[in-house]
C-alpha cells in the first residue's frame, strides 16, 4: 500500500460519487453533500500527491484550506437553503426557476 494508485482510485470514486450526487439529487441539501464529497476527493488527491510526489507539506496546507472553505461554504449554503425553504417551502432545485425568462 505504498503506491499512489489506490489513493487516486479512491479519490476518483469519491469524486464520481460526489458528481453524480450533485447531478441526480433534487434536494438542495443532497447537492450540498455531493459538493462536500467532491471537495474531499480533491483533498485525498492533494494529500496523496503531497505524500508521494511532492514530499513537502504544500498538499496538506491546501487540504486544510479546503476543509475550512468547505465548512464556511456549507454554513452559508445551508443558511441560503434554509431561507429558500422558508420562502418557497421547498428545497427542490428544479422548482427554483425565478431567473428563467
Amino acid at each position: 500500500m505504498n503506491t499512489l494508485m489506490p489513493y487516486l482510485i479512491i479519490g476518483a470514486i469519491v469524486f464520481t460519487l460526489g458528481i453524480f450526487t450533485i447531478i441526480y439529487k433534487k434536494n438542495a441539501v443532497g447537492i450540498l453533500m455531493g459538493v462536500e464529497l467532491v471537495l474531499n476527493s480533491v483533498n485525498i488527491n492533494f494529500i496523496a500527491f503531497a505524500k508521494f510526489v511532492d514530499k513537502g507539506i504544500n498538499g496538506q496546507v491546501v487540504a486544510i484550506f479546503i476543509i475550512i472553505l468547505a465548512a464556511a461554504e456549507a454554513a452559508i449554503a445551508l443558511a441560503i437553503i434554509l431561507n429558500i425553504y422558508r420562502t418557497k417551502a421547498t428545497v427542490d432545485v428544479t422548482e427554483l426557476n425565478e431567473m428563467k425568462n
Binding site: 458528481i19 450533485i22 447531478i23 432545485v93 426557476n97 431567473m99
Partner: protein, 681 residues
C-alpha cells in the same frame, strides 16, 4: 411746323393723364381740361392749316425723325411727316373732335363716369393725331391699335350693359383680325425693304426692291387692316354693334375719324398698290358700299341706319382709292366727317330728347327706335334743319359738300370702268350708283319717319324738347361746314371742285409701282376722265333725286303701301332686315368653332398631355410597387431569413438554457467525457 404738330399731338395726352388720375376731384369733373386741350389742338391745327393755305404749294412736306429702336440690323426711326394730306386730315379730325367734345358736355351731363368719358376722348384724340402725323407704318400701326383701344373703351362705356361690353369686345377682336393682315403686310415690307418709313418705302419700291406677287400681297394685307378699321365687308360686323357707345362717340370715332383711318392709311400707301391690289381694294369697297346700303333701308334703330350708312360711305372712299381716284376718296373722307358726325350728333339730340321723355313718362322702351318717333320737326327745329342739311349732303344733292365728293368718286369710278378693256369692271360704277339711290332713299325714310307725319307716341311726343345750346351749337357748326363753299374755294361753283384749294393742294403721290414698272399702273385718258365726270354728275344727281322721291312716295305721300310692297319681296326684306345673317353665320361658325376647338384642346391638355404625365407617374408608382414587392419579398426576405434563422436557432438553443445547474454540470461532464474519449481515440 414739327413742333406745332408735336404740341397738337401731345396736349390731349396730357389732358388724358390729368383726367384719368385727378378728373373726379377737379371742378366740373375736369371736362374743361379735355375740352381745353382739344381746343388748343384745334386752334394750333388751324394755324397749321392756314399756313398751308398761305403756302399754297402742292409739294409741301416736312419730315423729322429720331431713331427709336436701333439694335444691329434692326432699326426703326420714329418721326413726324407733315404734308398737305396730313394737315387736312388733322384739321378735319380736330374740328370734329372739338365739336364733339363740346357737344358731350351737354350729352353726358350727369353721367357717373363723366370725367372718365372725357379722359377717353382725350386719349382718342391723341392716338388719332399720332396716326395722322407719324411718318412710318410701325408708328401708324401702334396708334392704330391705340385708337382701337379707345374705341373699345368707349363702346363699352356703359359696361354694365352686357350688349355694350359685348360690342366693345367684338369691335376689338374683329379689328384684330384685320390687324393680323396689317401686321403681316408690315412684316413683308420690313423684311424686304428694311424700313417702315413711308417716304423710304416709296423710294425703295420705285427702285424695284419689292415687286410682283409680294408687292401685291403686301398691298392687300395692309388693306386688310383698313378692312377691319373701316368696317369693310367681311369685317364690317362690329360697327353697327359699336352704336352701343354714347352717341358723341359714335359721331367722333365710329363715323368721322377712326373708321376713316383705314381710308387715310390706304391714301398714305396708295403709291405701293399694284393693279391687282387696287382691284381687290376697289371691289371690296364697291361691294361694301352697295351691300351696307341695302341693309340700312330696313333698320329701325336710328343709329343703326346711320351706322350702315357709314359703312356704305366708307366703302365709297375705299373704292375711290382702289380705282385710283385718290383725291376723291380722301375728299369724301373730309366732307363725310363733317356731315356724318353731324348726323350722329343730330340723332343724339333726338335720342337725348326721347330719353328724357321716357324718363318723365316712365316708359321703358328703346329711345333709338324710329317707330316711336314722328313729327319731331315742330318740337326740335334746329335739330331738324341741321339733320336735313346733313342728309342732303349725304344724299349727294348740289350745294352741299357731299355732292362734290361723292360725284368725284362716282365720276372716278366710271372713268376707271370706261378705261378698262374688260366690261366686268362696270360693276364698280353700278355698285356706286345703286348705293347712291339707296342712300338717298334711306336717309329720307329716316327723316320722314322721325321728323314728319303724326307723332306715333303722343305720350312721349309731349315731353320732347329741343336740346340745350351746348348741343345745338355743334350741330349748327357742322351744318355750316357741310355747305359747298368751304370746299370749292377759291371757286364758288357748287357743281365741281376741280378748281378748289383741296384739289390744288392734296395731290395724288406718284405711284411707285408705276415708276418701278416703267409704265403707269392705271392709265385713264384725259377725255375719258372728263366725259365720265360730266356723265357721272348727271347720273348721280338724277339718282339722288330719284331716291328722295321714292322715299316721299312710300313714307310721306303714302302713294305706295310699304307693307304690301314689303310682303311682296319678303325674302329680300328679311335678308336685309337680318343683315344677311352674317352675324349669325359668324357666331355659328367662327365663334362657336373657336370655343369648341378651345374646349377640345383644353380637354386634350388636361386628359391626354397631363394624362401622359400623370400616367407616367402612375406607371412609375406601380413599377415601384412591384419593385417594392420584390424588395420586400426577396431582398428584404433574404435579410429577414438570416434574422429568422438566428432567431429560430436562438429559440432552439434557448431550450438548452434551462437554468438547471444540474443540467449544466451534466453537460459539462458529458463534454468532458466526450473530449476524453476523443483524445483517447
Amino acid at each position: 411746323m414739327i413742333t406745332l404738330a408735336l404740341y397738337i399731338w401731345l396736349v390731349p395726352l396730357l389732358a388724358f393723364g390729368i383726367q384719368i388720375f385727378f378728373g373726379k376731384r377737379l371742378p366740373r369733373k375736369g371736362d374743361w381740361v379735355s375740352v381745353g386741350a382739344i381746343g388748343i389742338s384745334f386752334f394750333l391745327t388751324l394755324i397749321m392749316f392756314v399756313r398751308m393755305l398761305l403756302n399754297y404749294s402742292p409739294d409741301y412736306a416736312v419730315h423729322a425723325s429720331v431713331p427709336w429702336i436701333n439694335v444691329g440690323t434692326f432699326k426703326i426711326a420714329m418721326g413726324i411727316y407733315l404734308d398737305n394730306l396730313a394737315i387736312t386730315m388733322a384739321m378735319a379730325v380736330t374740328t370734329v373732335s372739338f365739336v364733339v367734345h363740346i357737344y358731350s358736355i351737354g350729352y353726358m351731363e350727369g353721367d357717373p363716369r363723366y370725367s372718365r368719358f372725357f379722359a377717353y376722348l382725350s386719349l382718342f384724340s391723341f392716338s388719332m393725331l399720332g396716326l395722322i402725323f407719324f411718318d412710318n407704318l410701325f408708328g401708324i400701326f401702334m396708334m392704330w391699335e391705340l385708337v382701337g383701344l379707345c374705341s373699345y373703351l368707349l363702346i363699352g362705356f356703359y359696361f354694365e350693359k352686357k350688349s355694350a361690353s359685348d360690342a366693345g369686345k367684338k369691335a376689338f377682336i374683329t379689328n384684330r383680325v384685320g390687324d393680323w393682315g396689317f401686321l403681316i403686310g408690315l412684316l413683308i415690307v420690313f423684311t424686304t425693304l428694311g424700313t417702315f418709313t413711308i417716304t423710304d418705302i416709296h423710294t425703295l419700291v420705285a427702285q424695284g426692291k419689292l415687286t410682283g406677287g409680294l408687292l401685291t400681297a403686301a398691298g392687300i394685307l395692309l388693306f386688310a387692316g383698313a378692312v377691319g378699321k373701316s368696317a369693310q365687308f367681311p369685317l364690317h360686323v362690329w360697327l353697327p354693334d359699336a352704336m352701343e357707345g354714347p352717341t358723341p362717340v359714335s359721331a367722333l370715332i365710329h363715323a368721322a375719324t377712326m373708321v376713316a383711318a383705314g381710308v387715310y392709311l390706304m391714301a398714305r400707301i396708295s403709291f405701293m398698290l399694284s393693279f391687282d391690289a387696287m382691284l381687290v381694294v376697289a371691289y371690296i369697297g364697291g361691294f361694301t358700299a352697295f351691300f351696307a346700303a341695302t341693309i340700312a333701308i330696313t333698320q329701325n334703330d336710328i343709329k343703326r341706319v346711320l351706322a350702315y350708312s357709314t359703312i356704305s360711305q366708307l366703302g365709297y372712299m375705299i373704292m375711290a382709292i382702289g380705282v385710283g381716284a385718290y383725291q376723291a376718296g380722301f375728299f369724301h373722307l373730309v366732307t363725310h366727317a363733317m356731315f356724318k358726325a353731324g348726323l350722329f350728333l343730330g340723332s343724339g339730340s333726338v335720342i337725348h330728347a326721347m330719353h328724357h321723355a321716357m324718363h318723365k313718362t316712365g316708359v321703358e322702351e328703346d329711345p333709338n327706335d324710329i317707330r316711336l318717333m314722328g313729327g319731331f320737326r315742330h318740337k326740335m327745329p334746329i335739330t331738324y334743319y341741321t339733320f336735313l342739311i346733313f342728309s342732303l349732303a349725304l344724299s349727294g344733292i348740289p350745294f352741299f359738300s357731299g355732292f362734290l365728293s361723292k360725284d368725284a368718286i362716282l365720276g372716278g369710278t366710271l372713268a376707271f370702268a370706261m378705261a378698262q378693256s374688260n366690261p366686268i369692271h362696270y360693276l364698280l360704277p353700278t355698285f356706286g350708283f345703286l348705293a347712291a339711290i339707296i342712300t338717298a332713299f334711306y336717309m329720307f325714310r329716316l327723316i320722314i319717319k322721325t321728323f314728319f307725319g303724326e307723332p306715333k307716341r303722343p305720350d312721349l311726343y309731349e315731353h320732347i324738347h329741343e336740346s340745350p345750346k351746348v348741343m345745338t351749337g355743334p350741330l349748327i357748326t357742322l351744318a355750316t361746314l357741310s355747305i359747298w363753299i368751304f370746299f370749292t374755294l377759291p371757286s364758288i361753283s357748287p357743281f365741281g371742285s376741280e378748281n378748289s384749294w383741296y384739289y390744288h393742294l392734296v395731290k395724288k403721290p406718284e405711284s411707285a409701282v408705276s415708276v418701278q414698272l416703267g409704265h403707269p399702273v392705271l392709265e385713264i385718258p384725259e377725255h375719258i376722265e372728263h366725259s365720265a365726270h360730266v356723265n357721272g354728275m348727271m347720273i348721280s344727281i338724277i339718282f339722288a333725286l330719284t331716291g328722295i322721291l321714292l322715299a316721299y312716295m312710300f313714307y310721306y305721300w303714302k302713294k305706295w303701301d310699304v307693307e304690301a310692297f314689303t310682303n311682296k319681296i319678303r325674302p329680300l326684306y328679311d335678308l336685309s332686315y337680318h343683315k344677311y345673317y352674317i352675324d349669325e353665320i359668324y357666331n355659328a361658325t367662327l365663334v362657336r368653332g373657336l370655343l369648341l376647338w378651345n374646349n377640345i384642346l383644353a380637354w386634350f391638355d388636361a386628359h391626354i398631355i397631363d394624362g401622359l404625365v400623370n400616367g407616367a407617374a402612375f406607371v412609375t408608382r406601380h413599377v415601384s410597387r412591384l419593385s417594392g414587392i420584390f424588395d420586400l419579398g426577396f431582398v428584404d426576405g433574404l435579410v429577414n431569413a438570416v434574422a429568422d434563422l438566428t432567431r429560430d436557432t436562438g429559440q432552439l438553443l434557448r431550450k438548452v438554457q434551462t437554468g438547471q445547474l444540474q443540467f449544466y454540470i451534466f453537460g459539462a461532464l458529458a463534454g468532458l467525457v466526450l473530449i476524453i474519449i476523443g483524445t483517447l481515440m
